[in-house]
Amino acid sequence: MNLTVFQDLILLFVAGLGTAVVFTRDPTSQAIVISFFGLLLGVMFFIFQAPDVALSQIAVGAVALPLMILLALARVKKQEQEK
């Protein structure tokens, strides 16, 4: 496949998944979507010749950030139970 077509496709995917993040109103499922979104951004950075950023984006966006969100949600849930 032509590289430009591939680039266009992945850009459209990013736009679509970004929209999905916003419209996933349940935060727990949203964390999962965000994880995919982060991964996809990382892949996009690789394709657009930015390996340094891709590496940190995958580490941060696909792992650290969703984890933080899940932990925050778990704390909220626990606070709810305590009530």
Partner: protein, 114 residues
Amino acid sequence: MTHLPYAVAAWLFIIGLYGVASSRNLIHLVNCVGIVQSSSYVLLLAIGYRTGRVAPVFSDISPKTPAVDPIVQALMLTDVVVEVTVMALLLGLAVQIHKRHGTLNPDRLTKLSG
């Protein structure tokens, strides 16, 4: 599709703002702020990209090979770190708000009106 990346950046920015404006859950809201942020990645990436050039890493290739713009990539790296820190702070605030207000719904936070 020569301007597609710019359009995607604008779309992410606006849809992220929409998410923030219409959110019913503060954690969801924080995640939407993250989407606004990712708009700046796409924009910077598009501005730094040069058709037909390689990544600016010269360990295996001649230093004279034409490469894409390393400056914006450095800016993006900064941006990524900034994102994770801002999100950590915002999530922390959201958790504490839930602890004190007992809700994550911004419609029910009425402490500061007027």
